[in-house]
């Protein structure tokens, strides 16, 4: 049986960290995800693109343990796992950075980065150890845009906030970092900073998922692109093998030339 959902780039190099095969998810009568295959590799940025309603958020929420899956297998570092809750996802090393709602304004950067997972000495918070670890993580990601780690988040710009949220995800022993529209509300210079950070995140050995509507961002940092079309994977391609135009066609029509869903499948999904 041929697999129309695979682009030519499938399974070329890179060590898979997370491998999803044949994932199906329905909400009641609505079949949201159809036989989705999705593979994330160490050190690579995977862009996840698709129109509104294509199933990007649902797929992410399945990976993050928010939605249970109906069928399909999830392999994490070679062994099959079930991700039943956000906590289990975090335990595996899967971190999600949401567009907003990620930081508490009234806490400083260190306090936010360790929120919910504070280091303690007895019953007391170990502030010094936390500050030191936060500094090391920020330095490793070459974050230069923040004046002080003891600055309150309320005094940060949108780009700085996003930087802190991403650095927070990298602070833990995380292997997969999922970024939901990290540049959506940012200006040009701030977008630049965040994209650089996304790249460094992959270069430090994380598998990164970047959800974005912005093709410039996608082509700038992604190694591979997965296009979702009405709940199916239209194609997984290497960035270097495709053009802007082809990706846009994949997003809007589900196929582009010899890429993408078979004409019958694409039409049936309408």
């Amino acid at each position: 049986m041929t697999d129309p959902t695979r682009g030519p780039a499938a399974d070329r190099d890179g060590e898979p960290v997370l491998k999803i095969t044949g994932l199906n998810k329905s909400f009641g009568a609505v079949h949201v995800l159809h036989d989705v295959d999705f593979t994330l590799r160490k050190g690579e940025v995977m862009a996840l693109v698709g129109d509104n309603g294509a199933g990007k958020s649902t797929l992410i929420k399945c990976i993050a343990g928010i939605h249970p899956i109906d069928s399909g297998t999830v392999e994490f570092e070679g062994r099959e796992v079930e991700i039943g809750s956000p906590r289990e996802a975090a335990g595996l090393g899967i971190e999600v950075v949401y567009q907003d709602l990620a930081l508490a304004d009234n806490l400083d950067i260190v306090q936010n980065m360790f929120l919910g997972r504070e280091r303690r000495r007895g019953i007391v918070l170990d502030e010094n150890a936390m500050e030191q670890a936060a500094r090391e993580t920020l330095a490793k990601l070459s974050v230069r845009t923040v004046k002080s780690v003891r600055q309150q988040v309320s005094s940060l710009s949108g780009g700085q906030r996003q930087t802190v949220a991403i650095a927070k995800a990298a602070l833990w022993d995380s292997k997969v970092v999922i970024l939901d529209e990290p540049t959506a509300a940012l200006g040009v210079a701030q977008t630049r900073q965040v994209l650089d950070l996304v790249r460094r995140l992959a270069d430090t050995g994380h598998a990164v998922v970047l959800i974005s509507h912005n093709m410039n961002d996608v082509f700038e940092v992604a190694d591979r692109i997965t296009t979702l079309y009405l709940g199916r994977v239209a194609a997984e391609v290497r960035k270097d093998d495709v053009t802007h135009g082809q990706v846009v066609e994949l997003i809007t029509a589900g196929r582009s030339g010899d890429l993408g869903l078979a004409p019958a499948t694409a039409a049936e999904s309408m």
Binding site: R87, A90, N106, G116, E118, R135, R144, S154, D173
Partner: protein, 431 residues
Amino acid sequence: MSTDTPKEQGAMKSGPVRMADADFAADRRQNDMAGALRDYWAQVRSGDLGAIPAILGIVALVALFTALRPETFLTDRNIANLFTQALPVTILAMGLVFVLLLGEIDLSAGVTSGVCAAVMAKLIVDSGQPWYVAVLGAVVTGIVIGTAIGWLVAVIRIPSFVVTLALFLGLQGITLRLVGEGGTVPVRDDVIVALANKNMPVALGWALAAACAAGYAAVQLWRWRQQHSRGLSVKPLQMVVARVAVVAAALLGGTLLLSQDRAPSPLITLAGIPWGVLLVGVLLIACTFVLGRTPYGRHVYAVGGNAEAARRAGVNVTRIRISVFMIASTLAAIAGIVAASRLNSVTPSSGAGNDLLYAVGAAVIGGTSLFGGRGKARDAVLGGLVIAIIDNGLGLLGTKAYLNFLITGSVLLLAASIDALARRRRSSAGR
């Protein structure tokens, strides 16, 4: 570092990262007095006022009442009186700080203190229980009420305003039932009465004040040394020393004032710190520790700042919500005991009057935000002093009752306005 758990070490595998100045160390360079003062000033200008309004308020009010009543206001006796007057409101306010930190409100804290005091008085008078059993009974009553409020707010999701307004009415009924219509339960137990009416020996007062000052200095300097030696962001040493000096001066100055003989007749001596002040001191240290140094306190601030972020970070938001109402009601029980001690009795209207309004006012004047996320235990003490000075000063002036209401209400509105304006300032300062 040695405190790393194995899991965390994975992320830091590459060992200590050498941080060139260009990398990420801007906050360690400006470790001088001028820089710190500049930062502080920028913080104040952006709407983070801290204790400034309360301290200015205390200074202004003391000056005002001293000018108006020079012969009575600043006497040793009145100062001691003022401190005991502030006790119940301060303790009540300290509990409310926890609730306000989540952006919630507990309108029933005042009447909760009344119910708990009634339980205590009935246990002593009717059942002949010793004082510690009675106090335990009052505290347990407080915990039960707080759990009920917390459950209704956090699990059933009724707005706290409505839940506690309902309890404000309902609990008055319980006090009335316990005490009896038109009745009064006298409180004559020696230990309970001593709380607000007796003073500790002068020598003990000095010893405790000195120990507190020395302990505070030791903690602050030790922390400074730790941060300095590990290359962390640190305040300049002069600033730490100045803060220690101010706190030590306040402690020792207060002790000096309260150690004067303030007896109206030369035949007896009346001197020393009231025991209730010690109680407030202990509660202040405990609450400050819980809020500032424990994961629980950090989570309270996080839920108050952004409940959704806290939930996603794995904080059990429901449990935090319930717990703050439990703390507030427990401290309300203690406030009720102190109030009963001060008046030597419990009446059906105990805690139903202005107490709650005063306590909310005290917390807000002290610097706790009504919008959640900002506040400290010390706010209750500073704000409680402001409220007590107003109450006491107006009493000395002999103002009409209607004016007292108007003035106290205006002060609360003023504090809430400062809070709201400062908040607007903060949100416009964040870019």
